[in-house]
Every structure is written in C-alpha cells, then in structure tokens.
C-alpha cells in the first residue's frame, strides 16, 4: 500500500488530457454505472434464490400449495437435520471462541520465539478448503486411525470407537477449521491495545486473570462478537466437513439440500430445506451486520 502511495500517482501529462467538466451531471449518471454489476448479481444470484422460494410451493405435479412444506417439515429427517445443524454450529462457535481467545491472547501478549510463524500458519488455514480437515480427521480419529493405534500400543485399548461418526467429531473439525476466523479479528483488536496499559494494570496490583477480565476482555468484546457471529453463520452453512466425514447419523440442513437436490432430484423438497436454511442464516447475518456496523471490527480484518 505504502509503495503505491509514495510514488506520484498523477505523473501523467495533464495538459494533453481534454478538459471536461463532468461534476455537474449529478448522481443519476453515476448511479447508472452501478447498473451492470447489479443486473448481473440479480440475474445470477437473486433470481435463482427467488426461484428456489417459488419452487418450494410447487410440488412435482405442478400443483401450487403448501403440500411440499407440510411433507418436509413433518418428516423426522428434517427435524433431526435442523437440530443437528443448530447444535453443531453453536457448539463449534463456542469452541472457536474459547480456543481462539486463548490462542490470540498468547500470540499477542505472551509471545514466544516462532509465534510469528504460528500466526502465518493460522492465516494459511483460512485459505484452505474445509474438507481437508475432515479428511485429516479420518486418519487421526478413525477406528483404525493414528490415535487409536497409538493408544493401543500404549495399552490403553481403543478409546475412539465410533468417535469419527459422531457429531462431536464434526464439532471438533469445525473448531479446527473456524478458530482462525475468530483469531484474526481478535489479533487485530489486541494489536491496538497499548502494552503500557497492561504494564500499568499489573503495577497497580492486578494479576494476569484480573488484567484479562477487566482490561483485555472489554477491548475484545467487539472482535469476539463479530468473529463469533461470522463463525456461527459459516458453521450453520458448513457442508464440506460434514460431507467428507460422511457420518450417516449426522445430517445437517445443507446435507439435506444436497441429498434431496443432487441425489434424489427432489427439487421442491430441497427448495423447502434451502428456504429454511437461508432464513436461518439471513437472520444471523443481519445480526452480524448490525454488530459489525456498530463496532467496525471484524470483516475488514477477515477479508483484507
């Protein structure tokens, strides 16, 4: 950024440019420039979404009504999926918040040789596909996996029978994958806390726990809220991890959409589940945007 700012960006020949005064034309022309991308977004994103909603009210025999909704909502697989989705997302988010807070705290305030490398690794994980974690977990926690084999060698038996196919494994995998999403905004927030504030707090007699509770946590709330709600949103929508672990009993809403839409080609049913899922995450997203616009933290730190 600085490199671009320091060089003169207007080193072109201004005299050769035809002098045109466009300032007076006002907002109407300038608003027109937004139209092409907006039309594309409408055509390829909003229009399909609208069709999904419409399709959910049309059954396979082209009858319009609430029949598909009634069928899907009454099916036990839907209730299970909804409950699993919410349960896994909430537990994963809580785990990410706890683990992410601890890791960010240590990286920021108890740094060690190599902590920069650790931050780099964390940044890299952000760009990885999530299914990678699930694949690794099959080697680690599978019945014939490394953990069981190691425990067996140590004479501890095989402690992880069935763990891979339990919701807990999905939760652990999502914590692994999404913890960086909590850490990024936290690290940014902690970087803004002057070290003197912690020093002075200690000199006033506060131990580490009191400093964390009374000096650092209040600074971290906005970042925790922003990172936490984004993580909740992403874990609600997570698909790759659940798909790759492939536990038969752990079905979530995105898995149900996939099963109905791409496996059994029940488009109307898939659309009903999709509408529920979108409604759920949109509600959350609105909350997230609200938190974000109030604090200004989070998104910029996550994306840029």
């Amino acid at each position: 950024m600085t490199a671009t700012l320091t060089e003169p960006p207007i080193a072109t020949k201004p005299t050769s440019a035809p002098v045109r005064e466009r300032r007076g034309r006002g907002g109407a022309t300038r608003a027109l420039w937004v139209l092409p991308p907006l039309v594309l977004a409408a055509g390829f994103f909003l229009y399909p979404l609208a069709l999904v909603v419409k399709q959910s009210f049309v059954d396979k025999n082209e009858n319009v009504g609430l029949d598909v909704w009634r069928d899907v909502l009454n099916s036990p697989s839907f209730g299970d999926a909804l409950w699993n989705t919410v349960k896994i997302a909430v537990l994963s988010t809580l785990g990410c918040l706890v683990v992410g807070f601890f890791l960010a705290l240590v990286l920021s305030f108890v740094p060690f040789p190599g902590s920069r490398a650790v931050s780099r690794i964390v940044d890299t994980v952000l760009a990885f596909p999530s299914f990678l974690i699930a694949l690794a977990f099959t080697f680690l926690y599978g019945t014939a996996g490394v953990v069981n084999a190691a425990a067996d060698k140590l004479g501890l038996g095989e402690p992880l029978v069935g763990f891979l196919y339990s919701p807990w494994c999905v939760v652990l995998a999502e914590i692994t994958f999404y913890t960086p999403f909590v850490m990024r905004p936290l690290l940014a927030a902690f970087a803004l806390v002057p070290r003197e504030r912690l020093d002075v707090a200690a000199s006033l007699g506060a131990g580490p726990l009191r400093v964390i509770r009374q000096v650092l946590l209040p600074e971290a709330w906005p970042a925790l809220a922003a990172g936490g709600s984004l993580t909740l949103l992403l874990t609600l929508n997570e698909f790759g991890i659940v798909l790759f672990i492939g536990a038969k009993d752990v079905t979530t809403l995105p898995m149900l959409v996939h099963a109905k839409g791409a496996v059994t080609f029940d488009y109307p049913g898939a659309c009903v589940v999709a509408v529920v899922e979108v409604a759920l995450s949109l509600t959350l997203y609105t909350v997230y945007r609200f938190v974000f616009s109030r604090t200004g933290a989070g998104r910029a730190g996550l994306v840029a």
Partner: protein, 269 residues
C-alpha cells in the same frame, strides 16, 4: 507483559502447544504423511510410496486439476471485474443505491453454497439461459460465491485510499476515464490482487455448490477427492488433496509475480 514469571510463561506456552499441535498442526501434517503412505494400519505408515502422488497428477485426476484451475481463474476474473466495478461505481452513486449495492454484494456470504448451487439448477436447467450440463454453470456458481469477497476487499481498499488523489487528478484536467485508469485502479492494485488471491483460493477448494451442479465432463478436484474418499481410496484422496494445495499455492504465487511485474513497470514509467 501479561504473565511475568518464567514458570508461568512456560506453563502458558505448554498449554498453547497442547491446544495448537493436535488442533492445527496434526491435521496438516497427517495429510502430508498420508499422501506418501503405501500401507497405513498403525501409528505410522508401514511403507512409503510416491505412487499415489504420481496417480494424483495423471489421468482423470490431471483432467480435474486443469478443470479446477480453469474454473478458479475464470470465476475469479469475472468476480474481480464485477466486484471491482460495483465497488467503485457504488462510491459515486447516491446513498441508497450504494447501500443496496452493498447489501446485494455482501449477501452471498450468508447463503449456503449448496443453496447457491440449487438455485443455479432451478434457474438454469431450462428457459432462455440453459447452463445446466455445461461448464458455465460451475463457473457461474463459483463466481457468485467469491464475488462477495472481491467486492468487500476492494471496498475496504477504497476506504483506505485517499479520495484526494483522484480529486487532485481531476482538478488537473484529467478526464474521469483517465482518473480511473491512471489513478484509482493503480492505487487499488494491492486490494485487487489480494481479492484475486482470496477468490482463487476459495474457488479451488469449493465443494458445496460444485457437487450440486457439476456435469460429468467438468469435475473439479475437490469433487474428485470426495469421490475417491467415498470409495475408500483415502490415501490417494490425500495425495490429490496435497496436489490441490500445491497447485493453489503455485497459482497464488503466479498472481503475486504478476502483481510485482505490473508495479515494476509502473515504477519504470
């Protein structure tokens, strides 16, 4: 500055290692090991082989790799153009148009990828635009998923750059087109390349929307990996995953080099 005693610090670091190693390091390391494992039934593989890596870069897997790279580049290019255009145009637009653009371009992050895929299937399986069964439905789905990151990264970049530069250029008599090409876009180059890198990385690993819409002859690498692991070929699947990661890093490095070239050329001018 937070934990003062040496023993306390050692304790904190030990706890850090205890959390970090199994949670982050172990999964990454295990994939690398699996990619080169010949036979693995105990703590460590019984034998090593490069056969899996060879197979992962040949035949259908090679085809999938090419498909993945083409999809990522195509979708990212579309997303960057549309996202950058929208971000810059929204700046000059009246307030409510700007907020509308903001909302529309941020929305895809809140919609599950499988739903984006489902929408594509529902909308483009018949009617005026028939994309289902072609590679374009995959590319379109990817573009929709990553455009939000392109838009918000470039918007953040615009927030950081000083509007005064463009105003000074305009006051010197530069036309809006010249201001855009010679001042605003070059100043946004870091944001645009950052957005491109992110878009490429996300697209290369995308699985949710792709698995909904992909036609048989346009199978991306993540879908291939899923097919392999679903059939129990987990070691080969790991090898293909490693190939995917390496390919992603290579593409990102090329993007970084291109950015360096552009900046170099501008400096010489």
């Amino acid at each position: 500055m937070l934990v003062w005693s040496r023993s306390g610090r050692a304790l904190v670091w030990a706890l850090f290692a205890l959390v970090f190693a199994p949670l982050v390091l172990a999964p990454l390391a295990i994939l690398g090991i699996a990619a080169f494992a010949g036979d693995w039934n105990s703590v460590l593989p019984a034998s090593w082989t490069s056969e899996n890596i060879r197979e992962a870069t040949a035949g259908t897997n090679y085809d999938s790799l090419v498909v993945s790279i083409e999809t990522a580049l195509g979708a990212s290019l579309i997303a960057i153009v549309v996202g950058t255009w929208a971000a810059i145009a929204a700046r000059g637009a009246p307030r409510f148009v700007r907020r509308l653009t903001d909302a529309v371009f941020h929305l895809p992050v809140a919609v599950p990828s499988v739903v984006v895929g489902l929408g594509m299937l529902v909308a483009f399986s018949d009617g005026p635009i028939l994309l289902n069964g072609t590679k374009w439905i995959v590319i379109a789905a990817h573009a929709v998923l990553v455009v939000t990151f392109a838009y918000s990264t470039v918007s953040a970049g615009l927030d950081r750059t000083d509007a005064a530069f463009a105003e000074v250029a305009a006051s010197l008599g530069a036309s809006p087109a010249r201001v855009l090409l010679r001042v605003r876009l070059p100043m946004l180059l870091p944001s645009i390349t950052a957005a491109a890198s992110l878009a490429i990385a996300l697209s290369m690993g995308e699985v949710g929307a792709t698995i909904m819409v992909y036609p048989a002859e346009w199978r991306t690498l993540p879908v291939s990996i899923f097919t392999l692991t679903d059939r129990g070929k987990v070691l080969l699947g790991s090898a293909v995953t490693v190939v995917l990661l390496v390919a992603t890093l290579v593409v990102l490095m090329v993007v970084g080099l291109l950015k360096g070239r552009v900046e170099e050329r501008r400096r010489r001018r």
